[in-house]
């Protein structure tokens, strides 16, 4: 199913009534979703023959499903952490999942033995974790609200290295040999991971508002060359680490809702996540407005925008082959706790996306 070019089919797993619009795009719903909003979502790396998807949630759980080509999902396992989960990542060989949590710890979940061990600690909740597969080392990079970035050999209780950040870590991405971190106070720092991790460039933020999501993109030769940075003000900046011309960098608006009643009035929503397609190099953004959009940054065009979900989209990701786009629907706190409606359940949807993200031929 995901291999074919068909758009999202109308399969609904036992749901006969489609009340309201919990699934306006008619995508495949992952069974047994978390009980609270999904905070992190990652597909298994290409080293595994099957597709597995891992989701961390505010209910402190981490769940793993197998995703079949048919769009069917099979729950595999669940682990409970010591606090709400803020990030998950896979090891490059697909044997482990790392889980960053509000309990200030990062745990390693060995899937083969189904064991969980602590591998990292911070003085504040850990917002990000990323696995670094370098040439001469492998390690886990963790970013926390304690204003540090730490690098861990997971066999050692102490970090290999600690880098102080100017502010709390809000978002990060890693694609060896490049790492980028977005912090509070609109900090934006690029690190080079060659040899040992070190600061490469401190950039002035291209955005005027709080950073929220960051994702590295590659050039034609498959080497990381820049990143997309999303802010709470419905805007994404495309930044090259070493731009050939200053005009290569640009920003674009997204996830804004123009209200019809009042002329020109606009509600601006946060960009909750950005993901690049592993094959086409196009990107997807998801927002608090409950939509996802596909973009071609090179042609600077929008490829597709979705219908509006009944809740914000909190996270998204592509599988290793770029056939499946997964997105998680749930409340993201953007309107405060008053608007938290426990009756609305979180969900994860899977969409066949390979064709939709193809750049349009010129």
């Amino acid at each position: 199913m995901f291999g074919s070019s068909t758009l999202g089919g109308a399969t609904s797993f036992g749901q006969t009534t489609a009340a309201a619009t919990p699934n306006p795009m008619k995508d495949y719903e992952v069974v047994s979703p978390p009980e609270d909003s999904v905070s992190s979502l990652e597909f298994s790396p290409s080293t595994l023959p099957q597709n597995y998807i891992v989701a961390g949630s505010w209910d402190s759980s981490v769940r793993c499903w197998e995703v079949e080509q048919s769009g069917k999902t099979i729950p595999k396992s669940i682990k409970t952490m010591g606090g709400p989960v803020l990030d998950v990542c896979w090891s490059d060989d697909g044997t482990k999942v790392f889980i960053a949590s509000c309990d200030k710890q990062v745990k390693c979940w060995d899937l083969a033995s189904d064991q969980v061990v602590q591998v990292a600690a911070h003085d504040a909740p850990v917002k990000t974790c990323h696995w670094i597969k370098g040439l001469n080392y492998t390690c886990l990079m963790t970013g926390s609200w304690d204003k540090t970035l730490k690098f861990w050999d997971i066999r050692s209780p102490n970090p290999m290295m600690t880098i102080n950040l100017p502010e709390r870590c809000y978002c990060a991405d890693v694609d060896y040999p490049l790492a980028v971190v977005g912090t509070a106070g609109r900090g934006l720092i690029a690190y080079t991971l060659e040899g040992t991790p070190k600061e490469f460039k401190r950039n002035e933020s291209p955005l005027k508002y709080q950073h929220r999501a960051i994702s590295i993109f590659k050039d034609k030769k498959n080497a990381p060359t820049g990143y997309a940075l999303g802010s709470i003000e419905g805007r994404v900046a495309i930044q090259y680490v070493n731009p050939v011309s200053p005009k290569d960098n640009f920003t674009f608006k997204c996830h804004r809702l123009t209200l019809n009643g009042a002329a020109g009035y606009q509600d601006i929503y946060a960009v909750n996540d950005i993901a690049f397609h592993p094959v086409h190099g196009t990107l997807a953004t998801v927002g608090s407005d409950g939509t996802f959009s596909f973009w071609d940054k090179d042609a600077r065009t929008k490829l597709k925008s979705s219908e509006t979900m009944d809740q914000p989209i909190t996270k998204c990701c592509f599988n290793a082959t770029g056939q499946i786009f997964a997105y998680a629907v749930g409340y993201d706190w953007s309107k405060g706790h008053e608007y938290f409606n426990p009756a609305k359940k979180p969900a994860i949807f899977l969409r066949s996306c390979y064709e939709e993200l193809k750049p349009r031929s010129t």
């Binding site: 409970t80 600690a121 106070g185 709080q210």
Partner: protein, 445 residues
């Protein structure tokens, strides 16, 4: 005295009190500073012109003239150069110009009238303009601000001197506050008559432009801790859907007691799973929860059971009570450690109790993940026919997973799990029922 007349007749900008040598320059200034559209940068000719432009072209309402003094921001008044300034304001300006030279106290009402509308911070900057002797009394508290004034004008001797703080008498050549001095530097150029020296800006232009204010707020975020900074929407026609605090949504959410409680309680339970694992102690994290490990061991292996999450909720409720009591009894911060221990003990008790109760329905207790049996997750799975199975066959696949012939070779676990109501030994129950708590098998073979 002829000089006075000449000065006073200089064209000046009503919006920002700035004087110009030529009315042409004044008009240019007004077009660039006060009548420029902040969206498309088109220069209009008057305030109402700008207002109409913004409304018609950009659908934005402009309520203040950009970069104007607070009391001169009226967009309705049509002013072009010196034309259109309300006659009383013209007279007042004239009077203010002459104020420094006038010996009579008649001017007082006029100057007073203008002053209260200027915020205190700006009053500092207004100093050169206000140097009439009768004004001195009102600015005594701002003594140090006067430093950049340079030598005292002779007429100040009588009233002014005694009001000056003693340390000011020496009239230091350099100002104490360089930042302040920059805006008053022109006054040093003509030290003899400070009253005239306001040839340039006598008050800092205000930023009424919402976009500029928003940008300013945003940049201040970069420098401050972000704790107090707020998110301001640029422009009047849009709204950023985000809590006003400039914190990440996750930080705001994590503050909720619901999530905090989870973190405290689960820390004790989850960290105890660590040493539970049969692997070599990969890391010995400094943790104050180690005392619980042994007693937890049989329980935590079933980390997936819903019983735990239920227990957690109950424990959470209990914990809240205990915490409240404890807080009342103890001095909070110092005895945190003890408190934590108490809490943990209680949690454990509650949890064990709950687990006992949940036993009949929950997955078997004490089922330790068998480290020796490799997890199917990592094994290549045998799904011969499934991979390419036609879509139709999989409609409602969750419920009815027909086993194609090839399925015979599948591990039992794979086949069993999706079938509703079928409880494989050692597995959670997968009944898609309305009341069923979300549950997944601890591990899937």
């Amino acid at each position: 005295m002829g000089r006075k007349k000449k000065k006073a007749s200089k064209p000046w900008c009503w919006y920002c009190n700035r004087e110009f040598d030529d009315e042409k320059i004044l008009v240019q200034h007004q077009k660039a500073k006060h009548f420029k559209c902040h969206i498309c940068h088109k220069k209009l000719y008057t305030g109402p012109g700008l207002s109409i432009h913004c409304m018609q072209v950009h659908k934005e309402a402009i309520d203040k003239v950009p970069n104007s003094l607070p009391n001169r921001s009226n967009i309705e008044i049509e002013i072009f150069g010196m034309d259109g300034i309300p006659p009383e304001e013209l007279r007042e300006h004239e009077r203010q110009k002459n104020g420094g030279r006038s010996d009579s106290e008649d001017d007082e009402p006029a100057t007073k009238k203008a002053k209260p509308e200027v915020p205190a911070t700006q009053a500092n900057m207004m100093m050169p303009n206000m140097m009439a002797p009768h004004m001195m009394g009102q600015f005594t508290s701002m003594g140090p601000m006067m430093t950049p004034m340079g030598p005292m004008p002779p007429y100040m001797n009588a009233a002014g001197m005694q009001l000056m703080p003693p340390h000011m008498m020496g009239a230091p050549p350099r100002p104490l506050f360089p930042a302040v001095s920059t805006s008053t530097v022109p006054s040093q150029a003509k030290p003899t008559f400070p009253a005239y020296s306001n040839a340039t800006i006598s008050a800092p232009p205000t930023t009424n432009n919402p976009a500029a204010a928003g940008a300013a707020a945003a940049t201040s975020n970069a420098t401050t801790d972000g704790q107090k900074s707020l998110i301001t929407t640029s422009g009047t026609t849009s709204k950023i859907m985000h809590p006003p605090e400039d914190l990440s949504l996750e930080e705001i959410r994590a503050r909720k007691p619901k999530y905090q409680r989870k973190a405290i309680i689960a820390t004790s339970s989850s960290s105890s799973t660590m040493p539970m694992t049969s692997r070599a102690p990969i890391c010995s994290q400094p943790s104050n929860n180690h005392m619980l490990h042994t007693s937890y061991a049989p329980v935590t292996s079933v980390a997936t059971s819903t019983a735990i999450s239920q227990a957690q909720e109950h424990a959470a409720a209990m914990a809240a009570v205990v915490q409240a009591q404890a807080h009342a009894a103890q001095a909070a911060a110092v005895q945190q450690q003890q408190q934590q221990k108490q809490l943990d003990d209680l949690n454990r008790a509650v949890m064990l109790q709950r687990l006992q109760a949940a036993r009949p329905t929950g997955p078997p207790l004490g089922m330790v993940p068998v480290a020796s049996s490799p997890m199917s997750l990592m094994q290549p799975m045998m799904r011969p026919a499934m991979a390419l199975a036609p879509h139709g066959a999989l409609l409602g696949g969750n419920m009815l997973r027909h086993g194609p012939p090839g399925m015979g070779g599948m591990p039992a676990g794979l086949l069993a799990a999706p079938l509703p109501g079928m409880v494989a030994p050692g597995m959670g129950v997968m009944i898609p029922g309305p009341h069923m708590p979300m549950m997944m098998p601890p591990r899937f073979r």
